[in-house]
């Protein structure tokens, strides 16, 4: 099948992994920025296969994880209004706000719907003129064009019952914040391919230069990721720091100009608080004043929102690559996918959920007997992570 099986070929993957293993003279630390990449790396066990050569740090590129808690609380308050139908992507529904989540609000009678596109929400607004339809517009540059399109169409149609709660975040400022941090351990970045499909790769050139870090544009399939890691490693070994496009089958260097024009028309840059990380200057988009009529923050006066994070949650450090999910004392204890303290445990792209769901073998520190490559990887990982056996004990995995 096109684009599914070709880029998951086990033999080619082994070859690439072998090339990476042979080309390293030391273990390198690479951050994949996007949560979709984290998911794919762990789902296919790539982190284990490469454990001796590369430490993969999971970056802040999960929109569900970094959406500020104030905005989640605002969405919860808006959803509870009787006249409102709140539409959201599925995985936002279980993200905890200060006191509750959208699923719980729905069970108490709020009209909360899962949609697959903001245009579905727009259609709902046209079909139900008596309801106020609010779309929860979160995400990176990837989801922004469709949201911008929905806003432009709503304005063209003169819809008075459609609005959007916008919390867009941008990748380059996040990379810069991590690269500029005095505690930074990341030696190369894998940039998010789909973000670059929209925005192009030019924004990354000054970052690679200024911070002397290779940035490789990566796709999401196992072979895409392995090839991007290989290119990053080659650069690191050669002492180069360049922007490389390892996802050229999808990403044009200039990006999608039509989408960029629409984004510039609808959104303007703004400072944005990233959940668990803090405020990053000019790291988000909000609706321009010309589209304020469609801004749910202005349309619904839900009063002062007071948000409080769980004091136990260390998702901020996880998102910055300072802490592995299972090194958090609450991981698998107070915090599980069933009782998430932070958003990173909720989203299928969140690093904590990914570790909880897929990574438990590594934490167990028991080398699997069935696949020799993974066995070596798991042992290596346990050796470099002195806490792993301790974590296995406290989390009680393997009851």
């Amino acid at each position: 099948m096109k684009y599914l099986t070709e880029f998951r070929d086990g033999k080619l993957a082994s070859k690439l992994a072998e090339q990476i293993r042979r080309s390293v003279t030391r273990r390198w630390t690479i951050m994949e920025v996007c949560g979709g990449q984290t998911h794919s790396l762990i789902r296919h066990g790539i982190d284990q296969i490469l454990a001796e050569s590369v430490e993969l740090i999971h970056g802040p590129g999960c929109p569900v994880c970094v959406t500020p808690i104030e905005l989640i609380d605002r969405a919860l308050a808006i959803a509870a209004l009787p006249e409102v139908t709140l539409c959201s992507f599925g995985d936002m529904l279980r993200v905890p706000g200060s006191a509750t989540d959208l699923f719980a609000v729905k069970s108490r009678g709020a009209d909360v719907r899962v949609v697959y596109s903001p245009l579905d929400a727009l259609r709902l607004a046209r079909e139900q003129p008596a309801r106020q339809v609010v779309f929860f517009g979160v995400g990176f540059e990837t989801t922004a064009p469709a949201n911008a399109m929905a806003i432009v169409q709503a304005k063209r149609l003169g819809l008075r019952n459609f609005s959007m709660l916008v919390s867009h975040v941008l990748v380059p400022p996040a990379i810069e914040a991590i690269a500029a941090s005095p505690t930074n351990r990341v030696q190369a970045f894998l940039a998010a391919g789909h973000v670059c499909t929209v925005m192009g790769i030019e924004q990354y050139l000054p970052l690679a230069q200024r911070y002397r870090l290779p940035i490789v544009i990566a796709g999401f399939e196992p072979l895409d990721l392995l090839e991007a890691i290989r290119r990053a490693v080659v650069q690191l070994e050669a002492g180069r720091a360049e922007v490389e496009n390892a996802y050229a089958r999808v990403v044009e260097p200039r990006g999608n100009r039509t989408a960029q024009a629409m984004l510039a028309e609808v959104f303007e840059p703004t400072d944005r608080t990233w959940r668990g990380i803090g405020m990053i200057p000019q790291s988000g988009w909000r609706l321009r004043p010309a589209y304020r009529d469609f801004d749910a923050e202005y349309r619904f006066a839900v009063g002062a929102i007071r948000s409080t994070e769980s004091p136990l949650c260390k998702s901020g450090e996880v998102l910055q690559g300072l802490l592995k999910p299972h090194q958090c004392p609450a991981f698998g204890q107070q915090c599980t996918p069933r009782t998430p303290l932070g958003a990173t445990m909720v989203s299928s792209e969140g690093a904590c959920a990914a570790y909880f769901n897929y990574g438990r073998l590594v934490q167990l520190g028991t080398p699997p007997a069935t696949a020799s490559t993974a066995a070596t990887a798991a042992t290596a990982s346990a050796a470099t992570n002195p806490r792993s056996s301790e974590v296995a004990k406290v989390t009680g995995v393997g009851r």
Binding site: M1, L4, R8, D9, G10, A13, S14, G36, I42, R43, H44, G45, I46, D47, Q48, I49, P63, V64, F89, G90, D91, M92, L93, R94, F103, V114, Y116, V138, G139, F140, T142, T143, H194, P222, P337, R338, S347, S348, E349, F356, N357, Y358, G359, R360, L361, L364, T366, P368, A369, T370, A371, T373, A374, A377, V397, G398, R399
Partner: protein, 351 residues
């Protein structure tokens, strides 16, 4: 299969006078009786039901009785490959079948919402009748209630099944042993994706149809071919992952499966990728998993492949002492991951 003959009603107050379900259809009066006489009896037609006594009287062959019940609230009521009616019959028949029981009889209980078009109820009942005939299991007793408009989703169905487990058959989810083989009867994910495609109005290039089917024919054949089968399960809600996790937990063993060995049809795989779902967690309604001693597995698979519902049967993994209680998937790339249950429903991803 005989069609309901809507033209030949003999009743002076035929059902046609009410094109929709009204509250009176569940009131136990004349309207209820008409529903039974003109809809249920002709469709389900069997001697036990026709007596219309308060309880059906059955003759049980020797063995242990097996009993199971399930409620069906699927939305929409009709979907590619089936409807709530055949689902309600097959689901309960399958719960009996994978317990090693020969199904004897079913009961059916309808909760109908005022306003449900009678023609739709007719289609649902017809589908139930056909599914029951195909499975060879009579529907011998039933009940109907009607709730006010807005208090139900058109039609809810509860079916209860009674069966007999013959002497010598002893299956249980706690009986998997290290070294056993795990056998799957066919491709996974079809039902869940079929439902999702109509529920969410998603259009794919090809129509994905539900795999709803009664498995009792296949299980009878399997038990005959391989009496040493230790456990069987039908991976419905929660998919293959839920079933394997339950077997691993209940038996206190680990289960390792090869991702590549699990058949997933291309359209289902594509839809799952698009929506960010894992096919291992998607529901099936006509598939089963069996745990057998490894030596018996090839023979069992060969036997299963002679049955239409087992044509694509295959060995997908093994039971191991390692990782008790865990299900581990070996990926095509040589990595491994643990497959757990989702907390609630799988949620489609943002991007």
């Amino acid at each position: 299969m005989s069609e309901l003959n809507w033209a030949n009603w003999t009743c002076p107050l035929p059902l046609r006078d009410y094109p929709q379900i009204v509250l009176g259809h569940g009131g136990g009066g004349k309207l209820s009786a008409e529903l039974v006489e003109h809809l249920f009896l002709p469709a389900f037609g069997n001697d036990t039901l026709a007596r219309l006594s308060d309880a059906a009287l059955l003759h049980a062959p020797p063995g242990r009785l097996a009993m199971t019940t399930d409620s069906f609230v699927v939305r929409p009521l009709f979907f590619p490959g089936g409807c709530i009616g055949d689902l309600a019959v097959n689901g309960t028949v399958n719960d009996l079948a994978v317990s090693g029981a020969e199904p004897l009889a079913l009961s059916v209980s309808f909760i109908l919402e005022e306003g449900l078009p009678l023609a739709q109820l007719g289609q649902i009942v017809q589908a139930m009748a056909e599914a029951a005939r195909a499975a060879g299991v009579p529907i011998v007793t039933g009940d109907t209630k009607v709730v006010e408009r807005g208090h139900g989703d058109g039609c809810y169905i509860t079916t209860t099944g009674l069966g007999v487990v013959g002497p010598g058959v002893d299956l249980g989810p706690d009986r998997a042993r290290p070294g056993d083989a795990v056998v799957l009867s066919g491709s996974i994910g079809d039902h869940g994706v079929a439902i999702l495609s109509v529920r969410e109005g998603l259009e794919f290039e090809t129509v994905i149809t539900s795999d709803t089917a009664a498995l009792n024919g296949l299980t009878t054949l399997m038990l005959r071919a391989c009496p040493r089968i230790r456990a069987m399960r039908d991976p419905t809600r929660g998919g293959l992952a839920a079933t394997l996790n339950e077997l691993a937990t209940r038996s206190g063993v680990g289960i390792v499966i090869d991702e590549d060995a699990v058949p997933v049809d291309a359209p289902v795989r594509g839809a799952c990728e698009l929506l960010g779902l894992d096919p291992l967690l998607v529901a099936n309604e006509g598939k089963l998993v069996a745990v057998v001693p490894a030596a018996d597995a090839p023979g069992l698979v060969a036997a299963m492949r002679t049955h239409p519902l087992g044509e694509r049967a295959c060995i997908i993994g093994t039971v191991t002492e390692q990782w008790p209680g865990l299900v581990v998937v070996r990926t095509a790339l040589g990595g491994q991951r643990v497959v757990t249950l989702p907390v609630g429903e799988q949620l489609p991803r943002i991007c």
